[in-house]
Each structure stands twice: as structure tokens, then as C-alpha cells.
Amino acid sequence: MSEVSDVRAEEQGADIAPDGGAAAQPNAGAAAQPVPEPHVRRLNIIGRRNLFFALSLIIIIPGIVSMATRHFALGIDFAGGTEITASFANHPSLAEVQRAVDAENLNGTVIETSGGSYIVRYPPLNAAQVTGVQNDLQSRLGSTNVQQILVVGATIAGETILLSLLAVVAAAVAILALLAWRFHNVPGGWRAGFQFGGSALLALLHDVFILTGVFSILGKVFDLRIGEIDAFFVTAVLTVVGFSVHDTIVVFDRIRENLRVSQRLSFEQIVNLSIMQTAARSIITSFTVVLVLAAIFISGGETLRGLSLALLIGIISGTYSSIFNAAPLLVVWRRLQPLR
């Protein structure tokens, strides 16, 4: 793959001409006819960065408060316990099922699913108890169709939490290292590379906090079952991390390219230009993924609903953060720690 250095400053000039100031005359020999900028896209994102940071904090801070004070509604993967999903031929009401479960004296709780079946949760039970519970439900509520049984002991639950945290931390560190390495060839070397990597990491943490915060609020403040976090949720967090970094890399890659070809613009102007040049792509990509996720959310059934909701929130947040947070953070960082 050859280098990108053959991009002429004049071509970029055509894009930035409406910004005034740094206008460059297109070289008549290179472009046969001067091409007018077809769309006027001149949002000053960098200039209004504090507004966008504030917008993010409005969502993140309640989420952090909720996480700190109310924690999370844990799914069975993390909490441990026994979960039996069953439907009954006689279609008993929630209260009837709850009465039957209460009569077992095993501290069971009942949740009704949207599909007309019931989820009964107990503390971890052994094999004989699980069989006993099934027989008991059958005798109290009539013909029972057991769809799923999950028994998660405390050991495995603890390991799942540990492995999940480890995976998120390891992925974050690996992405920081990759970005620092990929961007250390911009003017400023490794220090600049870490500014790029660090900004991307902050944007990524933004998405992780939004997602976990919203789920903490959904699960604990609103007591919704969809707000429960489990291994699927971890999958969602890591996917969001991947997508968010995708978007951020595209912006940063454009900044890198523009830094190389345009000497006349200030860093802020280059960043703003790069955001404008890549925003369409970020929004279109996210839009297609959002469409796919919406399809899964609507038609994918109970199991995938929580996952697709998490991905929807995370990917919208990821697109927002890569446009309105990552690059502006880079500008802030560059101001605090000038490289030239």
C-alpha cells in the first residue's frame, strides 16, 4: 500500500476555502476546472467543544452516581444461582406461579417474560433439588414445558466477573498501544502518538461509562429486567469499544493525513476540517449498524433483546464520542501539552 503523501494541499484547500483565512488557490494545472464545494459543512465543533463535553457529562454523571450508589442488577451469569425458564399448558397467572414457588420455601422469585413463559430464580441448587423443583412445579401448576435451566455456582460467577473485567482492561490497553504505535509517525513522535491513543481511550471510556451507567439506571432505578448485566452485556461493551475505536481511528487518520499535507492551518482548524470530512462516513456506518440492531431488537427474541439494546446505546454513543469528544479532546490535550 503506497503512502498518502501525494495528496496536494490545494485539494484540501478546496475543502477549507469556505472557512476563509487559510484559503488556497487551486492550481489551475492540477484541476481542470475549479470545483465548487458542493455542500457547505462548516460546523465549528472544536470551538463549541465545551458544549459537547457538557452534553456527555449530563448522561455520564447520573450513570456514575447510579453505579456508585445502586450498583447493577446482575444477571445469573454474574450473580450465580438457579434459573428455570418454563411455560405451562394451563397458562397460570404470575400470582399463581409465585404462590407455587413460594410454597417450595426455596426463596424463589418469578418473572414473567414477553413470550408468555416464566423465569423462576433460586439460589444455587444441586441436581436433586433442580429435579425436585421441576416435579413440584409440574404437580402444582400442571403440564410444564421447561425451556431452559441455568445453574451457576459462586465460583463460576466470580470467574466470569473477573474475566470480563480483565478482558475489558486488556482490550483498552491493547487499543491504546496500537493507536500510539500507529500514530507515532505524526509530527511530534511518540508523545503525539500517546495524545492520539489517549484521546481515543478517553472517548472509549466515555462510551463504556454511558453504556454501563444507562444499564445501571435501567436495572436498578427503573428495575427493568433488560437492565440486567450478564456475559452478553460484556460482549456488547467490547463490541462498542471496537466500533467506537473504528470511528475515532477514521477521524484521527484523516487528521494525520491533513497534518502532513497542510502546513498553513492551525491544529484546531485541521482537526475541525477532519471531523467534517469524516462525519458523513461515521454517521452512515453507524446508521446501517443501527438499522441491523433495530432489526435484531425487534425480531430477535428475548435473549438477544438486552444485547441489541446495549449495542444500540453504545454505538450511538460511540459515534457521538468519536465526532464530538475524541478529536476535541485531542485539541485540549495538545493545548495542555504543546509539542512544538
Binding site: 500500500m1 503506497s2 498518502v4 484541476a31 481542470a32 476546472q33 470545483v35 451469569d77 425458564t85 444441586n126 441436581a127 429435579t131 421447561v146 425451556q147 431452559q148 435451566i149 441455568l150 445453574v151 451457576v152 455456582g153 465460583t155 463460576i156 474475566l163 470480563s164 480483565l166 478482558a167 486488556a170 491493547a174 487499543i175 496500537l178 456475559a231 452478553f232 460484556v234 460482549t235 467490547l238 463490541t239 469499544v241 471496537g242 473504528h246 481511528i249 477514521v250 487518520d253 484523516r254 494525520r256 493525513e257 452512515i284 456506518t285 446508521f287 446501517t288 449498524v289 438499522l291 441491523v292 432489526a295 435484531i296 425480531s299 430477535g300 427474541g301 435473549t303 438477544l304 449495542l311
Partner: protein
């Protein structure tokens, strides 16, 4: 760029396409040609290429069945843990075979060889745990005189524990003997077991010496060594109770043993052969009037008795087949719907390039599904989600190229030059973003919780394939189609104007 557009690369793409079509579609061609229904089991499918079968391996959440993670405890002292784990896996395998499970998956896990993961399709958890966890211990007994004993294998004698147990046996196999006519069971002892067995057989022979085939006096009760499952000292203490002995000394009853309570009395006898001679070296052979079936039964019995450790179930998952089928249907529908939406959107927004990208996307989906079959990748619900998401990633690379293509055309490049520049300049972003996702997948694949691993594998494969599909396939299609003059109209390309050459 010249390399990507060269003929060897194009031939490679065509080769991959043909191969994927074959892997994905050959089964359906076979069904249609033979007037079989398009779904369900059909004779001759899945095709078998020398033991290599091409079909989608469904995880338990899709196929229905039981998954159990076992913790191994009470490791026998002084033995290699990895060996003990392997032996336990072999025993579980044998026990599970009796359930008639197709493709049971029993894998070792755990950082210190102290875990075993069991996946059984079509079996419910209670049945699986009963069969696997049945703690049957194999014991050898010798016979000691007791005038109060009136029945059992050796009247006038009661059994005595010898200290030789299933722990001392490394394997038992049914086989045809050296004459090639009759079935025998070969037992291989561990080195400790070999010594104990040598001593026992010497005692046997010394009790009433002679050739057992010719001398009547050589055939005494003390010359027998009986093999039992779960025989305990408590059983032996009951040996003067004739009805008790009649029950215990009947052939071992696996189902009864699996569900025994302190009050049930199950048949526990495996066999009570006579010792012909002292056996040193740890290899014994049990012969008799075995059929292939009875020899296999005895070997399985001996093996299944020797579970060398205790098993504790850490987690159990049971999914019914109907729920699994429902999940397959829903995720398939979601995947197809998602793909259709993406294709529609791409064509409306990007016109001809969008259509080409959709073709590349279909190529990509076909190739990835073929990879899933060939490797094979076990597909779970999370795995299918990973695949659907990788479609989104594959689209992303195309969008990057097309947005750049529009810019280049706007900047006044010719179509051919614009395609080339677009791919070249979009590449660093595509490469870096896919690398970051791929790294995430690798990390998840290694340290993620098990539910997440399936997701990481399919997404990782998808990301790698999307890189190839977007850079090579889309680029080639654009280069080939857009050189034809008819497609250069701005309306077809989704741009405002096109510079003529």
C-alpha cells in the same frame, strides 16, 4: 494497487467464490437432485469427505442439550494431574456413550487441569448428571472361607477387599484374542496396580496349585478374583444374608447404581474369573465364552467404574431443543432482515458502487459461512450475533472507500483515478480500525468468559474476511464495472458531476 487488480488475485477471488458456493450450497443441490426435502435429516448428508463432514456445528443453545462445567477434586496423590484429567474424560466419555448422544463434547479445562467441560446435545441435565456423576468405584475382592455363606458366586466363601481398585487400572479393552476366534477383555494395570495384582495372583495360585484346566483340585474358590462396582465393606458384612447376596451378586446394574440410596441394593458383580497363573507385568486377560457384546459390556463396566476423582458441578445449562430451534429461527430472521436493510440502503445511497458493494457483501457472507463449516466453528447465539455485526464492519470499509471516492471525483479526478485514490487513501483507516477490532477479538477469545468466546471467534473471522472482501473484491468490481463507459453517469455513481477524461 496493481497487485490487488492483478489476475492471480482475481483468480484467487473466483476460487474462493467457487469453493464457498460448493461448501454452502452442495447439500441443497444434492437434496433437490434427489427430491429430498430442503431441511431435516437426509441419507447421505452431511457429505463425508474422508471423515471431514461439512455442516454447521450448532452450539447447545441452538441445538438443545446440556452443558456442565465440572470441578475435579480429591486427586489421587502422586499422580500426574493431566493424566488423571485425561482418564476422567475417558471415563465420562464411556458413561455418556450409554446415553446415545451424538457427538458428545468432553474437554479438559482449568489452569491446573482441574476442570472438565461436558456438552451433550439432546440430553436433559438431570439425566446427564446422573450418568456422569455416578460414583461407581471398581474393587477387586478375593474369597475367604465362611461356613455361614450359602449362596453367591462362591458358596461357603465371602469376599474380602484386596486394596486393588479402579485407581490401579489404566484401561480395559475388548478385543479378539491371539487365535483370532474368541473375544477377550484385556486389562492394563498401572505400575502400582501391577504389583498388587502380581501379589494377589501369586496368593491365588499358592492357595490351590496346579493347572486349572486339567486338575480339579486346582479349581478352588480362593483361586478366583471377583471384580465389583461399588462393593463396600457394608455389603460384605451382609454376606450371611442369602437374599442380600442374591441381589448384590447379580450382574451390575448401572441405572440402579446411578440412582442408589442407602437403602437400595443393586447388582454389583462384574465378573469372577479364575486365575490360571501368577500374572506379573501388569497385563491381564479375561477370557471366557464372550460375545463381542458381552466383552464390550465388561470392558465398559471396568472402565466406567474407575472414575479417579470426585466431580462437582460448577454450572449447569440445559436448553430445550424447541427453544434452540426458536433461537435459530429468530437469529436467522434478524440476520437476513439486517442484510436486506444494509443492501437496500447501500444501493439507494451509493447507486452502482452500492450495488457492487452489496455483491461484495454477499461474497463475504458466503465465504464466512463456508469457513464456519470447514473449520468447523461451533455456532452459538452469541456467535451468530458476532457474525451479523461483522456484516456491519464489512459495510464500514465500503462506506469509507465510497465517501472518499465521492471526494476524489469532486476534487476533479477521473473515475479510474478516483477509484484508485479512494481505495489507497481509505486503506490506513480500514487497516487500523479492523486491527483494533481483531485485537479485541483475540483478547476475548483467550480470556473472555466462555459465553463470549463464540462471539469473539465469529467476529474475528468476519473482520479478517471483510478486510479481504472490501479491499480486493469491492476494488476489483469497481475497477471492472466503472471502466465500462455506461456507468459513468453521475446519477449512477451518486456524485454531482464526473470529469470526462
Amino acid at each position: 494497487m496493481q497487485l490487488v487488480l492483478s489476475w492471480p488475485i482475481r483468480l484467487f477471488v473466483v476460487g474462493v467464490l467457487v469453493f464457498s458456493l460448493f461448501v454452502d450450497g452442495a447439500g441443497y443441490v444434492y437434496r433437490i437432485a434427489n427430491h429430498y426435502p430442503l431441511t431435516g435429516n437426509v441419507a447421505g448428508l452431511p457429505p463425508n469427505f474422508g471423515g471431514w463432514q461439512l455442516y454447521f456445528h450448532r452450539g447447545l443453545d441452538l441445538a438443545g442439550g446440556t452443558h456442565i462445567d465440572y470441578q475435579l477434586t480429591n486427586f489421587p496423590a502422586g499422580q500426574n494431574r493431566a493424566d488423571v484429567q485425561q482418564r476422567t474424560i475417558a471415563v465420562i466419555n464411556k458413561r455418556v456413550n450409554s446415553l446415545g448422544v451424538s457427538e458428545p463434547e468432553i474437554r479438559g479445562a482449568g489452569s491446573s487441569n482441574d476442570r472438565i467441560t461436558v456438552d451433550l446435545a439432546g440430553v436433559n441435565a438431570a439425566q446427564a448428571q446422573k450418568t456422569i456423576g455416578a460414583v461407581s468405584k471398581l474393587v477387586y475382592t478375593k474369597w475367604v472361607p465362611d461356613s455361614k455363606v450359602t449362596n453367591g458366586p462362591e458358596a461357603g466363601y465371602k469376599p474380602a477387599l484386596t486394596g486393588l481398585t479402579g485407581d490401579d487400572i489404566s484401561s480395559a479393552t475388548a478385543t479378539i484374542d491371539s487365535t483370532g476366534t474368541s473375544w477377550v477383555v484385556n486389562i492394563q494395570f498401572t505400575s502400582a496396580g501391577a504389583t498388587k495384582f502380581d501379589n494377589l495372583t501369586r496368593e491365588n495360585v499358592n492357595a490351590c496349585p496346579g493347572d486349572t484346566t486339567t486338575s480339579l483340585t486346582a479349581n478352588c474358590a480362593q483361586r478366583h478374583l471377583a471384580i465389583w462396582l461399588d462393593m463396600t465393606q457394608a455389603d460384605i458384612d451382609h454376606w450371611d444374608d442369602a437374599s442380600y447376596v442374591a441381589k448384590v451378586a447379580s450382574p451390575y446394574d448401572a441405572a440402579c447404581l446411578a440412582s442408589q440410596t442407602p437403602n437400595t441394593v443393586c447388582g454389583k458383580l462384574l465378573t469372577d474369573p479364575i486365575t490360571r497363573e501368577e500374572i506379573a507385568g501388569g497385563q491381564a486377560q479375561i477370557s471366557g465364552s464372550f460375545t463381542q457384546q458381552s466383552a464390550n459390556d465388561l470392558a465398559t463396566g471396568i472402565n466406567s467404574g474407575s472414575l479417579p476423582v470426585d466431580l462437582v458441578a460448577l454450572d449447569v445449562t440445559q436448553v430445550s431443543a424447541t427453544l434452540g430451534a426458536e433461537s435459530v429461527k429468530l437469529s436467522l430472521a434478524a440476520g437476513l432482515l439486517g442484510l436486506a436493510i444494509v443492501v437496500l440502503f447501500m444501493i439507494i445511497y451509493y447507486r452502482v458502487p452500492g450495488l457492487l458493494a452489496s455483491l461484495a457483501l454477499l461474497f463475504y457472507a458466503g465465504a464466512v459461512l463456508a469457513v464456519f463449516k470447514v473449520l468447523p466453528v461451533t455456532l452459538t447465539l452469541a456467535g451468530i450475533t458476532g457474525f451479523i455485526l461483522s456484516v456491519g464492519m464489512a459495510v464500514d470499509a465500503n462506506v469509507l472507500i465510497f465517501e472518499r471516492f465521492k471526494e476524489e471525483v469532486r476534487a476533479g479526478r477521473t473515475i479510474t483515478a478516483a477509484v484508485d485514490a479512494a481505495v489507497r487513501r481509505a486503506w490506513p483507516a480500514i487497516r487500523d480500525s479492523n486491527t483494533s477490532t481483531f485485537i479485541t477479538c483475540v483478547i476475548l477469545g483467550f480470556i473472555g468468559p466462555s459465553a463470549v468466546k463464540g462471539f469473539a471467534i465469529t467476529l474475528g473471522i468476519g473482520v479478517a474476511a471483510s478486510l479481504i472482501s472490501s479491499i480486493i473484491v469491492t476494488h476489483n468490481l469497481l475497477a471492472i464495472v466503472l471502466t465500462a463507459g455506461g456507468f459513468r453517469r453521475p446519477a449512477l455513481l451518486g456524485v454531482d458531476r464526473v470529469r470526462s477524461v
